[in-house]
């Protein structure tokens, strides 16, 4: 879970060309300027990393890194 949270933070930071320390897990991705359509790119990167299939809109429904990490860990932990 912590690893996933950290990985997501680095991912978002790389999109925004910012330092991961500047990214808060509780701020919505839209607030950082990640637009709704770019969320599909992020979804693809998460799918590749975790080897799971997600709805392209997953980052619309889980708008912060905290929420997304929670949701993804629950998916990954399922047998």
């Amino acid at each position: 879970m912590d690893d996933l949270h950290k990985w997501l933070t680095h991912l978002v930071a790389s999109y925004l060309e910012k330092d991961p320390d500047e990214i808060s897990g509780s701020v919505s991705l839209a607030t950082y300027g990640l637009d709704s359509v770019y969320a599909f790119v992020m979804c693809g990167d998460i799918e590749d990393h975790l080897d799971v299939r997600l709805e392209p809109t997953v980052a619309w429904d889980y708008e912060t890194i905290d929420a997304l990490a929670d949701h993804l860990s629950s998916l990954v932990e399922q047998p």
Partner: protein, 522 residues
């Protein structure tokens, strides 16, 4: 069930001055900027609206390729009429995709009865930036202004994208349906028709709601997702409008260069004229190939429509704009005169067609969608991901199409494009240029891999690459259709030459010349 040939019979002889759909009559309406109301009624009588209704709701829409051919037949005669009438298809599509059976059944009866339906997405000051929309529908009460809406005034029903949570965002909007016939007085007003460069007779206007009751279409908060899925279908549909315009432009240019004599010979016997005409014909063949693949893919590769529809909308209208420009050059002064040569039909279609590249998402919007797919396109290409069965059913035009399943549409094509990815390892037809196309696609994907989609400032280079990808797709469509269905080799050769000329700079000349000669002799 009606076909494009039936439609041509309904439209009648364009030269018959008394005919409703004569060039003379249509030119008159255009000059007067008058809505083609009688024409729309005639298309209603003919039963065109039933083709906007999916078969599962009791309509005649079984096949998107058939629908596109019908709308192409109307557009071939007059784009203004096509745009004015077909808006009902765009207006109802959100209900076909997400409405419940009662709502869809009710709308199906309305559409079949000829009730015009409009689709209100854009707002003054926001254009393509849908998430900036300020029209609200809190508790279903619509308030605010939608502007530059086709048939905003003339429609009885509107599907409207509206903000349903104050914070907005991708889950902050819903699609709602408003029925003007039942709205309380004072809860809406029409905004004046906006004068336009082309489609002058169309009702391009707006509507302002004030606490107007509406009903939800689909899920609350599902509006943006629904609209983006609907756009995958309507962007494909737009290619039918473009091909109709191409048909008319080519008909005029071909006849003119064959019949016109200057300097003691036919225009077509001048090498440069012949080549220009041939290139324009090649553009139509390429546009047809992309459109055929796209319209069939709605049924056979729905999960890839995010890529397919973006390519189609970015590519086809722009290439047909060029085609029209080339035909205009061939027609010379006659492309500029408003009363001669079929009552100025050419200059009218030239103006009318400009809107196709703009509405339902401009080229930039669609290319941006492609750019966001670059990682998926590269990944799919490298892995050779191909939905073999889906691709086979797409390319083999003798196969019946499975029913379209809107639940399979998705906002991002995880596997890229089977059509393009198949080119890497699949069989190639024996056509000059086939191997070069494969090589060019290899290079383009290498370039795509070098560009990560940017979250904010998308580079101009990425847009240029998106255009190169469109050409890969178009070339793959030409090759794939030819490999599976066979057909006229000189047409396929010229179409491939058209693609390669733009992709690699390979000279296409002789292939165009043959095409022009065949067109003139036909």
């Amino acid at each position: 069930m009606t076909t494009a040939a039936d439609m041509d019979r309904v439209l009648g002889d364009p030269a018959d001055l008394r005919g409703l759909f004569s060039h003379a009559r249509l030119a008159e309406l255009d000059r007067a900027e008058e809505f083609p109301a009688d024409h729309c009624r005639e298309l209603d009588r003919f039963g065109l609206p039933a083709h906007y209704v999916p078969a599962r709701f009791g309509g005649d829409l079984h096949s998107y390729p058939e629908l596109l051919e019908l709308i192409r037949a109307v557009a071939r005669r007059d784009l203004t009429v096509a745009v004015a009438h077909a808006k009902t298809f765009l207006g109802s599509i959100c209900v076909w995709l997400a409405g419940d059976d009662d709502q869809a059944g009710w709308l199906a009866r309305e559409v079949r009865a000829g009730t015009p339906v409009s689709w209100a997405l854009t707002e003054r000051g926001h254009g393509s930036d849908l998430l900036a929309g300020e029209v609200t529908a809190y508790d279903g009460r619509l308030t605010g202004e939608k502007w530059l809406i086709n048939n905003a005034t003339r429609s009885s029903l509107l599907t409207v994208l509206a903000r349903t949570s104050p914070a907005g965002g991708p889950r902050g909007f819903s699609v709602v349906l408003a029925d003007k016939r039942t709205l309380p007085e004072g809860s809406y007003r029409h905004l004046p028709k906006v004068p336009t460069h082309g489609i002058r007779g169309a009702d391009i206007s707006g509507i302002e709601f004030r606490d107007a009751p509406s009903t939800l279409v689909g899920e609350p908060g599902g509006g943006l997702e629904l609209v983006l899925k609907a756009l995958q279908l309507t962007r494909t549909f737009c290619a039918g409008l473009s091909l109709g315009a191409a048909d008319q432009a080519l008909r005029q240019a071909t006849a003119f260069t064959r019949d016109r004599h200057l300097y003691g010979r036919r225009l077509i016997d001048m090498p440069h004229v012949r080549r220009t005409l041939g290139e324009a014909h090649a553009a139509r063949i390429v546009g047809e190939a992309v459109t055929t693949v796209a319209a069939r893919s709605i049924h056979t590769l729905p999960g890839e429509m995010a890529v397919v529809s973006a390519v189609t909308k970015a590519f086809v209208p722009a290439r047909i704009d060029e085609l029209i420009g080339a035909c205009g050059t061939l027609l010379g002064a006659r492309a500029f005169l408003t009363e001669v040569l079929d009552h100025g039909a050419f200059q009218k279609l030239d103006r009318d067609h400009r809107v196709v590249a703009i509405f339902d998402g401009s080229s930039f919007v669609n290319q941006n969608a492609l750019i966001n797919h670059f990682p998926a396109l590269v990944g799919g290409y490298r892995k050779g991901t191909v939905d073999e069965q889906g691709l086979r059913r797409t390319l083999d035009t003798s196969l019946p199409l499975p029913a379209a399943d809107p639940d399979q549409l998705t906002l991002s094509s995880r596997n890229g494009s089977s059509l393009v990815q198949h080119l890497r390892a699949g069989d190639l037809p024996e056509l000059p240029g086939a191997a070069e196309l494969r090589q060019a696609c290899e290079e383009v994907h290498g370039q795509l891999a070098g560009i990560a989609p940017a979250a904010r400032d998308v580079s101009p280079e990425a847009f240029a690459l998106a255009q190169r990808y469109e050409l890969c797709f178009a070339g793959a469509a030409v090759l794939g259709l030819h490999l599976v269905n066979g057909g006229d080799e000189s047409r396929a050769t010229a179409a491939l030459a058209y693609v390669l000329a733009r992709l690699t700079g390979r000279p296409a000349g002789p292939a165009y010349d043959r095409l022009a000669e065949e067109a003139v002799d036909a």
